[in-house]
Chain length 319, copies 2
């Protein structure tokens, strides 16, 4: 079975992998996401794929195909990206699939980033022992992926928006504009906005010192982890609120879906790891209707490569 490649197209980085038919990663490469629009992104993807193929000792056009996981709306058959959020310079629709096919000389298949990352954990990662899982991708936002009875559930195309489960009617404003969403408390984007606001009001925190020392412009997951390690009060308080919201929102989903396992991924989920997955499980407990039979709560095992590996799974290896 010839190797295939996967691309995780994110707002800040492009991660690529070359993977064999058994899900082993043969090569990988990561580059920052260009901010000059679609053409720059096509070039960056091609370069990152070239580097991953090099590491695998392969030429790009010997790959059986390339899968791309992208944020937002997708027309998978046409290979079209529709208004992807967090990708600067993309307005309206862009035929990323056809453009990449021309550049790479191999088939390209598009999928939603959260869906493919969930599929990867299900088939190759922490979800392997289960038939029904909820993937919780705790990062800038909070995304969700569902495998029910061994299959992706996407509804009419937009299922899994667990970040916008309401945990507090009339609560905090979410970056999506609505009120009381889980993401308004647990999304890294919302948390950063709150931290900036509280600092401006005079509250002390080391979050932004750490950010500057590390030459960043955003509070990355690593910065949150460091601030927690330094017992920064504001970071602790905001993470506590995030965990309380995740507990309520994820428990709500479990009450409705009764899945076997919840897999915690995403930048914050992976960076904070098992101790925080345990804290989320504990925060879920008071809200679980069948609390003598909770689902397993576990951290995604594919780490930062999960999205790209899931994208590679989009490439059909038969037929």
């Amino acid at each position: 079975m010839p190797p295939r490649a996967g691309v995780d197209l994110g707002g800040t980085k492009i991660q690529t992998v070359v993977m064999d038919g058994r899900g082993n990663v043969l090569g990988q490469s990561r580059v920052p996401t260009p901010t000059d629009g679609p053409k720059g992104i096509v070039t960056a993807i091609a370069q990152a794929l070239g580097a991953a193929a090099d590491e695998a000792g392969l030429a790009t056009d010997s790959l059986v195909g390339v899968g791309v996981g992208a944020p937002g709306g997708i027309e998978p058959d046409a290979g079209v990206l529709i208004n992807p959020p967090n990708l600067p310079g993309f307005d309206g629709e862009f035929p990323l699939g056809p453009e990449l096919e021309q550049r790479l000389g191999t088939r390209v298949q598009l999928g939603n980033d959260v869906s493919v990352a969930t599929e990867a954990e299900f088939r190759l990662g922490a979800g392997k022992p289960y038939e029904s899982i909820l993937g919780v991708f705790w990062g800038t936002g909070v995304g969700g992926g569902l495998i029910l009875g061994g299959k992706q559930w996407v509804g009419r195309g937009s299922a899994g928006e667990i970040g916008h489960v309401v945990v507090k009617v009339g609560g905090d404003r979410c970056p999506c504009g609505r009120r009381g969403c889980m993401e308004a408390y647990a999304g890294r984007g919302a948390m950063e906005a709150k931290a900036r606001h509280r600092q401006k009001k005079g509250e002390k925190t080391r979050l932004f010192d750490i950010m500057e020392k590390r030459g960043r412009e955003r509070l990355t997951s690593g910065i949150w982890a460091r601030a927690l390690a330094h017992e920064d009060k504001m970071a602790i308080d905001l993470i506590d609120q995030a965990i309380e919201a995740l507990g309520a929102g994820v428990a709500s989903c479990v009450n409705v879906l009764d899945v076997e396992a919840v897999i915690i991924g995403g930048g914050l989920g992976i960076r904070l790891g098992e101790p925080y997955a345990k804290r989320i499980a504990k925060a879920m407990d008071p809200h679980l209707f069948v609390n003598d039979h909770p689902p397993d709560i576990t951290v995604a095992t594919l780490g930062d490569l999960g999205g790209a590996m899931g994208a590679a799974l989009l490439v059909k290896t038969r037929g």
Copy 2:
């Protein structure tokens, strides 16, 4: 195809139907649920089935089988009811299936009341045009049933507990003991407790006058409807809160599942009907993540017979 029968075993009434293979109701009967425990219930079910069969011009033992929808836990293969809530005199397990089979001389199949009512709406009622629906049973509690891709989704056996989706972290105490559940605001049980409490504190309401005039001990759906028609302030306020909670909780479910339609049933859902389904749809709108593509929101069309019809569907007509 020989006729089959269905029983909706509720806390206050037992509804039976005899139904042909096409889902037409040939006869039906309703009796109050006895409060003297399992033996009394077996007798009452047998009598009500006899009356429904009479109306259909049939003998009970000529039925191809009888399905029973019951609250709480079920062991369908053994025909055992496990700690059914709201059924007085039931402690632990009771072999309702075998007991009824002996009494009736025909096969008996048990199922969960909410699951069978959802199946009935899906196959015979308001859910017919769809492949994925969320059934919302708005009554004493708020139950939920899921059809995804044309099939019931029950998870590990306890899916659909939408009444215990958290709409307000730290919010009102729910009859289940937890805080902030949708049912703490929208369940008729919780609403009655709040009404009694507010009346005790001196607030005026006609709810309990109407109850007494109608010789009831509980605030039934009909009493709520009458109080609303009389523009009773407390009734209006509590129903407003219920609708706000339903809007948030059901929208949360739609954000996660992206079903095609939400079917509103249950005592209050059916009694208050289309105008209140529209109000729930409006209350969902500010919380729907994809709000330019909302699901259809519609009232259950099988009315009070849905549960018994769904129970009849448990009887396999082939093999």
